[in-house]
Amino acid sequence: MKLSGWGRFPQADCEVFRPGDEAAVRARVLSGATVIARGAGRAYGDAALNPEATLLSDRLDRILAFDPKTGVMIAEAGVMLSDIVELWTPRGWFPPVTPGTRFVTLGGMVASDVHGKNHHAHGAFSRHVEWLDLMLADGSVVRCSPAKDAELFWATCGGMGLTGFILRLAFRMTPIESPWIRQTTFRAESLAETLHLFEAHQASTYSVSWIDCLARGARQGRSLVYLGEHATAAEAPGRAPPKPRPRRLPVDLPGIALNPLSVSLFNELYYRRGKPGVAFTPIEPYFYPLDSILDWNRAYGARGFMQHQGVIPKPAASAALKTMLSLISAHGVCSPLAVLKLLGPEAGPLSFPMEGYTLAVDFPVSEASLVLMRELDAVVVDHGGRIYLTKDARTARSSLTGYRLDAFAEVRDRVDPDRRFRSLQSERLGL
């Protein structure tokens, strides 16, 4: 079956399996073929592609327990975050960390060690996981946690499925008083202003910015910065928030839809449209603006797109970001979707976040884009930063200097010496 990541590039013909229970997973793991787990397929590149055997977790989708006193949920790895958000928000509970789309699985969230708009305050998803059950290459199942088999736990969080098949996990939800977000919007007219706003508002629970990556000169790095808090019961609007009604993109847009003129025009309008001030917004538009169009990845056409996401440590961030934004605006062809965010530190050997700024930008698949992305890699790496594997479809091993690859390899040597668990990405990067 032809599979790809969210960017629809690259594509690979994969043998797909959909195990319904632990025994079925074991049968696949011990079958002789190499394997990789696949959740909702929202990694952008080839992290969840293995032509020999790709194991979908969609049948392992049972919620096993929930303790309303502690907020701890135990669930199989195939449970969708979107179901948890839909069913538990009205009950006063929210995921401790949520990525920019809710259409991901819990297992995927662990394997990518996802970060959210609250990373600077609350860390990545792994910080809120109590334990996880992992099936290893020999078919045995190990329960690991920060207190037990900690090395394996931290290698699995962000480990892109390469330590084993995540079967189930326990994690802590966050209590909320209302299903509304108190959003504060700022318009920043330059990169310096944007960075200053992040520094000044580190006490804000949630923060993120939409950045105009085509703006030049004095306007380079201009952005709309969105801060957020879960609204208290007292301040929240009394009514229930409207239910999200996502739409579909019925066709692949033609390649010329996103060109330098249309994108800079969009950016100009979007920047002006941002209303500084405070407003109450429901959960979905604040956390998942793109989920409102279910298959927005078709906007880039059939050839697909790639995302570049790197993080630069704070001291070097301003200079590095200026260089990257100049490279992007000179190139001219990107998407209007560009995000800048302040992140905090993470400890795992393959965990992406570091205390610094992350910039995420989409590019259509083309030779010119590949060249540009290599240049962006160089800027990130030269300034001591990292490239996010969950978004990656084309980087090289030489760009992974920011990770503790030796520590990761040690764990792999112990639990998967024959490298039964592998993906097209791990092959490409020699992980």
Binding site: R18, G20, D21, R59, D61, R62, I63, L64, A65, F66, D83, L87
Partner: protein
């Protein structure tokens, strides 16, 4: 008259379609009873339904090949308002052709077993407060064809049985629905190359059933195109049909 509330019993609850139907009815706030072989292994599914939708969900052992319909329903804590059979087993046509015992299992799994259980349920519903019988049959039963007629004929039997039940209980408070899903993306069809536009997801089948029950629709083809396809297939004269490679 279709029951607006009351519990739902699902025979064949382990299957992909069975799980989707359980979720769809649980979402409506109905208590759910999951019936299958080795029912203990469905406890996690029952717990999941309770946690997600706040409904009471439990399991009961049922092997359609050996169940005594009267004893089975007698042993239930109460008569459900809705009884769904999604039990289905395609088997292997070439094996069924060679081995009568294998063919018997296909026929019993798809026709005899479910039909007798649904019939018993209907009898009891007629004597009590009414209810709904939902049988998941198949388009394969609309006309026997060379590639799967052992399975197809068993489904044809189920379809006729449901039609007879519907006729018998017409005008009463027992509602009988026949569901013909067409191709569905499930474990039963794993490995088959199914054409995209004709293939439904289990959740679609479940939605069609819940909506159909609400509207009192008696015969459902989940994707409407299948009604057109099967009408044509049924109308083809024998000399023409015999030449087709289906």
């Amino acid at each position: 008259m279709t029951p607006r509330q009351g519990s739902v019993l699902i025979l064949g609850a382990r299957s992909d379609i069975g799980r989707a139907i359980a979720a769809a009815f649980a979402r409506e706030g109905r208590p759910i009873l999951l019936a299958a072989r080795n029912a203990a292994a469905l406890e996690a599914d029952a717990t999941d339904l309770g946690l997600r939708y706040g409904v009471s969900a439990s399991t009961v052992e049922c092997d359609v090949l050996s169940a005594d319909p009267a004893a089975f329903f007698e042993a239930l804590p109460e008569l459900p308002a809705v009884v769904v059979s999604v039990v289905g087993y395609m088997g292997d046509q070439t094996v069924s052709e060679r081995d009568p015992k294998a063919a018997e299992v296909v026929i019993a799994s798809n026709f005899t077993g479910p039909a007798l259980l649904l019939g018993e349920a209907a009898e009891r519903m007629a004597g009590a407060g009414g209810g709904a019988i939902i049988g998941v049959s198949s388009v394969a039963g609309d006309r026997g064809r060379r590639s799967n007629y052992v399975y197809g004929s068993a489904k044809a039997g189920l379809t006729a049985f449901l039609s007879g039940l519907r006729h018998r209980f017409a005008g009463t408070n027992v509602f009988v629905m026949t569901v013909k899903p067409g191709f569905v993306n499930t474990r039963m069809t794993e490995g088959m190359k199914l054409p995209g536009p004709l293939t439904a997801q289990p959740a679609e089948v479940a939605e069609a059933i819940v909506r159909g029950l609400r509207k009192g629709r008696e015969v459902i083809y989940v994707r409407p195109v299948w009604r057109v396809i099967m009408t044509i297939i049924r109308c083809l004269p024998e000399p023409v049909f015999k030449k087709m490679k289906v």
